[in-house]
């Protein structure tokens, strides 16, 4: 089951790849663990298919089932 540690580790891994992650939340449990990645609004339009695939891959490697972006993103 995904927990706080996995979310923090995931955030660090994503920053290590150069993504300007504000934070990562985890929701759900069991078979439906969700990583909620918060990026600044300014970063969203530039996320291409390769970026989305890379983030999703890393999310799965950290034990989450679903990789998501928080659409209520901070304005930065």
């Amino acid at each position: 089951m995904a927990g706080g540690r996995d979310a923090r580790a995931l955030a660090a891994s994503l920053r290590g790849l150069g993504y300007p992650v504000v934070e990562v939340d985890s929701l759900g449990g069991g078979a439906e663990t969700i990583a909620v990645v918060r990026l600044p609004v300014s970063a969203l339009p530039s996320l291409g298919t390769d970026d989305r695939d890379a983030i999703a891959r890393l999310v799965r490697e950290h034990g989450f089932r679903h990789a998501t972006l928080d659409l209520d993103a901070p304005p930065q």
């Binding site: 929701l27 759900g28 069991g30 078979a31 439906e32 969700i34 909620v36 990645v37 609004v41 969203l44 339009p45 298919t49 989305r52 695939d53 983030i55 999703a56 999310v59 089932r65 679903h66 990789a67 998501t68 972006l69 928080d70 659409l71 209520d72 993103a73």
Partner: protein, 285 residues
């Protein structure tokens, strides 16, 4: 023989096969959801058998999105298809409402029971559904209920693929020819989380709002207070460009968190978590 000629011969052969299957059925009640396959099947059935030997029947319940019911009605009126709207009560079956991985079996048990009664009352010989050749191998627990009720699948028996059905629909002028796949609203709720009318209404409200923002091929997956939105990759930019309106609309539907799935909409993704023993796969006709 050129590939295109050969291909067209195969398609023509399938079309003829479909006509033969329908003629074998003699008279039919079509499980008519308003989706691509059932609309096509109803239209071809009327062309083949005549209006007096066909009834397109839409089972209505909280799990059928209202826009699908509207499509079913509008196409039936426009193409003069004999049509009946009839309530189904799969929600009254606790086995369905518990939302196990074979939920569709209990849903279809109810639907085919209701339509079998309609067929008997109207003197129509065969109940048919819109399963097609591309459904083979998919997780389709509803197919067991169909088999138990003697429901035939003419499109599957004829070997017609979704693409072929869409092409033929387009030739017939059916407005559903390019309609995205539209499984029932209960499919948005993870297995093991109960299907309730309130949850279905919430999902429908969110999806209706997203449709209003221009999205066509997407799902709002229900995770309690969070909506996890899967959009087709081709609509990613549409979703992002409408981000603020999208967040407002989905929150207005009752969700606290509005999430965009990075992998996007993938047909059958709900079943990724199922183990091999849980899958009920549709076989060939």
């Amino acid at each position: 023989m050129s590939p295109s000629s050969g291909e067209s011969t195969v398609v023509q052969s399938k079309r003829q096969h479909l006509v033969r299957v329908l003629e074998e059925c003699e008279s039919v009640v079509v499980g008519y959801s308003g989706g691509v396959d059932s609309v096509f099947l109803a239209a071809i059935a009327v062309r083949t058998l005549g209006r007096d030997r066909v009834l397109a029947a839409t089972g209505t319940s909280a799990s059928l999105a209202s826009w699908m019911a509207e499509t079913a009605r509008d196409v039936a009126l426009r193409f003069d298809l004999p049509w009946l709207e009839i309530a189904t009560d799969e929600m009254g079956d606790a086995r369905y409402a518990a939302n196990p991985s074979n939920r569709c079996y209990f849903c279809k048990l109810e639907l085919w029971s209701v339509l079998a009664r309609v067929a008997a009352e109207r003197g129509l010989r065969t109940v048919v559904d819109g399963a097609n050749a591309d459904d083979v191998g998919d997780h389709r627990p509803g197919a067991l209920a169909a088999a138990e009720h003697g429901v035939r699948s003419p499109l599957l028996e004829a070997g017609l693929t979704k693409q072929e059905i869409r092409e033929w629909s387009r030739e017939l002028g059916l407005p559903t020819w390019d309609q995205p796949a539209a499984p029932c609203l209960a499919s948005r709720i993870p297995y093991g989380t109960a299907v309730t009318p309130a949850r279905l209404r919430q999902i429908e409200a969110a999806e209706r709002a997203l449709r209003g923002l221009g999205l066509r091929d997407f799902r709002v997956r229900h995770h309690d207070a969070a909506a996890r939105i899967e959009v087709h990759p081709t609509e990613w930019d549409v979703a992002l460009s409408a981000r603020e309106a999208l967040v407002r609309a989905v929150r207005a539907a009752g969700y606290d968190r509005v999430l965009l799935d990075l992998q996007g909409y993938r047909r059958g993704a709900l079943n990724d978590s199922l183990e091999a023993g849980q899958l009920v796969q549709l076989g060939r006709a």
